[in-house]
Amino acid sequence: MLLEISDLSIQYPRAISPLLENISLSFACGEVTALLGPNGCGKTSLLRAISGELDYAGHIHLFGRTQADWYRTQQDHRALARRYGLLAQHSNLNFAFTSREVVQLGLGPGSLSRVEQGERVEHFMQRADVWHLRDRLFPSLSGGEKQRVQLARVLSQLSLAEPGEEKILLLDEPTSALDLKHQHQVLALVCEVAGENTAVIAVLHDLNLAARYADRMVMLGQGRVQADGAPAALLQPDLVEQVYGYRGQLVNVSGHSALL
């Protein structure tokens, strides 16, 4: 397993009860996992704990080693960076970099030649459908455009991994600012990326989008994992009502299930 979480609990200071309690999950290579659940259920906190920004009780293993172990030396930290990417929900870059320069930051100073760097940047900007924005200033882009540029940056970062190395990609609501077309485009891209030796874990809000693209859905609620399994098994009105407190109706249109 690329990422293993065991007995993880998160409690914010001064909170009465823990946000998450004794959660155990593991994530395999090649799989897209959608993290779902009502507002405030701890999806983003779980992601932040996994990415090491939040204090927690319990254990998180990345590629078989504990998280703290990876950050002990600068060499290991850099080695982890090329196979472990995070796309945050918001980006607040106040300085006038062009989109192309932002994507290039993902490649860092590294060992690539200038030409190779240029090719990689173009490749990932094309895939995230932002190549036409390459010379625009990043702060002047719309929210959705920024998100796609940042996705291209994270993907270019993961392209630095050695061939055959397994990778982890964390996405915090990657579709929140996107229009309809790009929601589908980005999730299709994410599925492609999972096929390239990567475990993808994405916080998502839209159940139907998650069901359509994810290989596995994990529903959080009341501090625990409420359901974990294949989308078809989880997209059930009873279960959704239990987690979200809203009863939807399941419809079936040309092979795709959707909850309305």
Binding site: S51, G52, L86, L93, N94, L105, G106
Partner: protein
């Protein structure tokens, strides 16, 4: 396409301007010296037997002992302020951070004030070595004050996430420093008082070869170290967690920046007092010309900072010649409206 100058045009232009500004600064002043005499005077001062030509003795003295160290000090202090402004803006991820505005220079001034006022007490205790120690103690105390102030503003400003808190913390620290300096003024001797007034206004008039040497060494080392972290600073602009995911040791980087910045600003303040707004204006201009990439921003800010302070100092000491105006007044006069303009531009992002 975004407007960016290439290094091929920007670097030669900046160096040419620097040379021009330097010559101007050597020639202009209470005693105007012709272009030819500047060169002859300098040569005569550095190596009296090199020329057969007769150069007035006072030219050599004014150039070698007063104007040249002052010019070099201006380039160094301006460079420090430019580089530190650029790096601090990177760390705070906001173009409004500046040593003067967020109280770092004030912190350094308090450190320097302690040495100036209590130096006499310290001197009696240390005996005859106090004179030699003063040039070491002054930057050391000023740097400590600057490091402490930077750390405080950074923590209070929610680690670069809150611009409002950063600016308000700067206001509070400046007020506190003002009170401390005012208190020092009451117990200070006349000489110390005069020194302190100069400190608070900011002036290069105290330039000596010792101060040039000390500030120059500190500038070269700290700016060099900071430049070597340019790639990591670029990553930091994306955000702290993003930078960490890109393999940057964020805490180590921030510690290094706070200490190196503090040492450099402390050195600058201990030789010239609080000269504001250079660190604000210079990186802004460089970003407009060359973009926000720290690999270029840091060296160009150093060069442009030196140029700007030298020109400002030349103007400040020649408009009311033979009296001279502290250069800090001039930079504040030009820089403060620029700060207001930036605030106005950013008003939507701040609140």
């Amino acid at each position: 396409m975004e407007f960016r100058l290439s290094d091929k045009s920007l670097l030669p232009a900046l160096i040419a301007l620097l040379l021009l500004g330097s010559c101007l600064s050597l020639a202009v002043g209470a005693m105007t010296i012709g272009w030819g005499d500047v060169l002859a005077g300098l040569m005569h001062w550095s190596w009296p037997s090199i020329l057969d030509q007769d150069v007035p003795e006072q030219y050599a003295l004014v150039l070698g002992e007063i104007r040249l160290p002052r010019l070099l000090l201006g380039l160094i202090v301006g460079g420090i302020l430019g580089v530190c402004g650029a790096v601090m803006q990177g760390m705070f991820r906001n173009p409004l951070a500046e040593p003067g505005i967020i109280g770092v220079s004030s912190g350094a001034a308090v450190g320097a004030g302690i040495v100036l006022v209590f130096g006499a007490v310290l001197g009696a205790w240390l005996g005859t070595h106090s004179e030699k120690l003063q040039w070491l103690l002054l930057p050391a105390f000023a740097s400590t004050g600057a490091i402490f102030a930077t750390w405080l503003v950074y923590v209070l400003g929610d680690r670069g996430r809150s611009v409002v808190m950063m600016l308000l913390a700067g206001v509070a620290i400046s007020a506190l420093a003002g009170a401390a300096l005012g208190m020092f003024a009451y117990v200070a001797t006349d000489t110390a008082l005069r020194d302190m007034t100069m400190w608070q206004l900011g002036s290069l008039s105290g330039a000596t070869w010792t101060s040039v040497l000390v500030a120059g060494l500190i500038f070269a080392t700290s700016a060099g170290f900071l430049w070597s972290r340019a790639n990591d600073l670029n990553a930091l602009l994306l955000g702290e967690s993003e930078a960490r995911h890109l393999g940057v040791d964020v805490n180590g980087l921030k510690r290094q920046i706070i200490v190196l910045n503090g040492v450099a600003v402390g050195a600058a303040v201990s030789v010239s007092g609080i000269i504001g707004f250079i660190g604000l204006v210079v990186p802004h201009i460089v970003r407009l010309l060359r973009g926000p990439d720290h690999r270029y921003l840091i060296p160009y800010s150093g060069l442009l900072g030196g140029l700007l302070l030298t020109v400002a100092d030349t103007i400040a000491r020649s408009v009311f010649a033979p009296a001279e105006m502290p250069v800090g007044i001039l930079t504040a006069l030009l820089g403060a409206p620029f700060f207001l303009f930036l605030l106005w531009q950013q008003r939507r992002q701040i609140f």
